[in-house]
Subunit: 135 residues, 2 copies
DNA sequence: AATCATTGCGCAATGC
DNA sequence: CGCATTGCGCAATGAT
């Protein structure tokens, strides 16, 4: 229930009242020309007020929103898939039940027939042998 | 893992350079007991530095983490369920295939038999042999 | 009124 | 470089 309207926190809070400065990220410490390995300037000069910075932030925020939306979408899809599969499953089970029943009927018919044959024509105890009872 | 560790974002940023000031929320305006309209506005006394505040934040952060973990867990479960259902589906389809084949064979037998009867010449005790169910 | 649970959002680090 | 992901904290809101 949100119209994606901005709200709360925008990284803007500057009330001077906190006695305990929660120590902020120290930036731009610039290696004291000592143990700094042969690395280029990895100095993070993210001048919070820089236009560059602000621009990047905005872009990232956008990307983040997009990504999250996508993620949620996917999750929902997955959920839907579950239902879909469940339905399919039920369908298949019903079919199996039907087929099983049909098979059963046919087999019974076979047996009956065989029996009749035996009764009327005891010529030979043929047929009726491949009954593989499955409990 | 993390317990009360601070990192990034401390809600401290205040560079006024952007053309669009996103208007900040002023809090604690507490009417000086004067022209305050007949509304008992809940003064949000969230003194950023308050111990109360800090405590609440920490608790919430914990709750958030918990909630998110749970959420992820659930998502993963759902994904697993999909695979499970897919497997089940395949199993069922295989079974259907088998049953269908069996049925087909039986029906053919029936037809053949009926045909033979119609011919009134059951001489050819043909067939009836491919009942090779489960090896 | 208080507390925990959810959720949207921005920041920053990290993965392509 | 730039977008995409992801962990994290903040604050509003929902649910008890």
């Amino acid at each position: 229930m949100n119209t994606s309207s901005s709200s709360s926190d925008d990284g803007l809070s500057n009330s001077r009242s906190s006695p305990l400065t929660p120590q902020l990220v120290l930036l731009n410490s610039e290696g004291g020309g000592k143990a700094t390995p042969p690395s280029k300037k990895k100095a993070q000069r993210m001048d919070r007020g820089s236009e560059e910075y602000r621009l990047r932030r905005e872009r990232n925020n956008l990307a983040v929103k997009k990504s999250r939306l996508k993620s949620k979408q996917k999750a929902q899809d997955t959920l839907q898939r579950v239902n879909q599969l469940k339905e399919e499953n039920e369908r298949l089970e019903a079919k199996i039940k039907l087929l099983t029943k049909e098979l059963s009927v046919l087999k019974d018919l076979f047996l009956e027939h065989a029996h009749n044959l035996a009764e009327s024509v005891p010529s030979e105890t043929s047929a009726a042998g491949q009954e593989q009872a499955t409990p």
